[in-house]
């Protein structure tokens, strides 16, 4: 029998410290599979966040730079401007991207930095023990919103990806999830499209938001967490392409109209 599926070579043989059923593990695997398939491992630089994925360099067998909380897009800007031929992506959680790093996220997009941002949205602060995030849904409990988030007390849930998608410097933005085989396959396609933006030198930032399970802080089993994304989370954070300004897509759209 032939081996047809297994652990990607670019994932170091180290057990993930992520919780059982965590979306990080799946996305790490997809990214390393893509790095191998697209043959970009030798020119890939990853900017790791503060958050559960701070130890990303323990798993991804590529060059990884740690960044201060939220500053990933600024660090990635410095890297990509210095190495325009490199493939650079930031890997960020909801606090990193939509709280402390809001300015960096928006301005890297506004400048049209040719990087990719992988935004892992689990609606909570995982690493620090379950505090409220900008993406925490109304009614969802967190340690700093023990009675459940309410608009009057904690304010509105923030959908930063939709705001970012309005910036012309964002050349591709899609929201996916990793809670089922179909969703995972689709997420891989979206990540590939985002990486290809750099390979094709599209003039802007590519964003992939991944709705990710956090069973520990959601106080659910892994399988229940997957269901909750379908039943609740993706109603507020709708899956799909948020914006597509790629030159490639425009060419295809023009061809369709012409043909």
């Amino acid at each position: 029998m032939k081996l047809v599926a297994g652990r990607p070579k670019l994932l170091k043989p180290k057990k993930f410290h992520y919780c059982s059923g965590c979306g990080h593990s799946i996305v790490h695997r997809l990214l390393m599979e893509l790095a191998e398939e697209l043959e970009i491992a030798e020119r890939l630089l990853v900017v790791a966040p503060a958050g559960c994925a701070v130890l990303a360099y323990d798993y991804m067998d590529v060059d990884v730079v740690e960044s201060a909380h939220g500053r990933g897009p600024a660090v990635a800007t410095g890297i990509k401007r210095s190495l325009p031929g490199a493939i650079v992506f930031t890997y960020q959680g909801d606090g990193d991207l939509a709280a402390i790093g809001t300015a960096e996220s928006i301005h890297a997009a506004a400048r049209g930095e040719r990087i990719m941002t992988v935004f892992i949205n689990n609606g909570i602060y995982g690493m620090t023990g379950g505090q409220m995030a900008p993406t925490t849904l109304e009614g969802m409990r967190a340690t700093t919103a023990p009675e459940g988030r309410s608009v009057e007390r904690e304010g509105y849930t923030l959908d930063l990806s939709s705001l970012l998608a309005q910036i012309p410097g964002v050349v591709y933005a899609e929201r996916v999830s990793v809670n089922s085989p179909r969703a995972i396959r689709h997420a891989k396609k979206a990540l590939e499209a985002a990486i290809r933006c750099q390979l094709d030198n599209e003039p802007g930032l590519a964003l992939v938001e991944v709705l990710s399970m956090c069973p520990t802080n959601w106080k659910k089993t892994p399988v229940e967490s997957c269901q909750w994304i379908d039943e609740v989370m993706s109603k507020k954070f709708q899956l799909g392409v948020l914006v597509d300004r790629r030159k490639k897509s425009k060419k295809m759209a023009v061809a369709e109209n012409a043909g």
Binding site: M1, S20, S25, I26, R29, P181, P215, V223
Partner: protein
């Protein structure tokens, strides 16, 4: 007229080559079906159908030390060939175990496994 899945995918593979799509995914019927699956609603049923059509045999290996008993592979195996074992690993989890011989190598378990600790083998593509 009934079209056998095998014939259908050979046709598609030919068309793909003619259109210049050099994606290795289209190089084999089995791989093609797996790539096609997301477009279909009843993925699980299709996986079973494919296995009967192609008479593919497969098996999986789960690395028990990495497994964290999340249950995704158990949930998504179309033929329910995986279950939580009775022994625990050094982290205190009860790793999933592969139970039966009727595996078709559909790769769904490896696809959903967060720990990337499932290897899938197939004897024919």
């Amino acid at each position: 007229m009934t079209v056998s899945p095998l014939l259908l995918c050979e046709v598609v593979r030919y068309v793909a080559r003619v259109c210049g799509l050099q994606n290795p995914a289209y190089d084999s019927p089995g791989a093609f079906f797996i790539r096609l699956a997301p477009a279909l609603e009843k993925e699980r049923d299709f996986a079973i159908l494919k296995s009967y059509a192609l008479k593919v045999k497969g098996k999986i290996k789960i690395d028990a030390e990495y497994c964290k008993s999340c249950g995704f592979c158990i949930e998504h195996c179309p033929k329910k060939l995986i279950a939580l074992g009775k022994a625990y690993n050094s982290a205190g989890y009860f790793p999933a175990q592969f139970m039966a011989e009727e595996c078709t190598g559909c790769e769904l378990c490896a696809l959903v496994c967060p720990e990337a600790c499932i290897e899938v083998y197939r004897d024919r593509d």
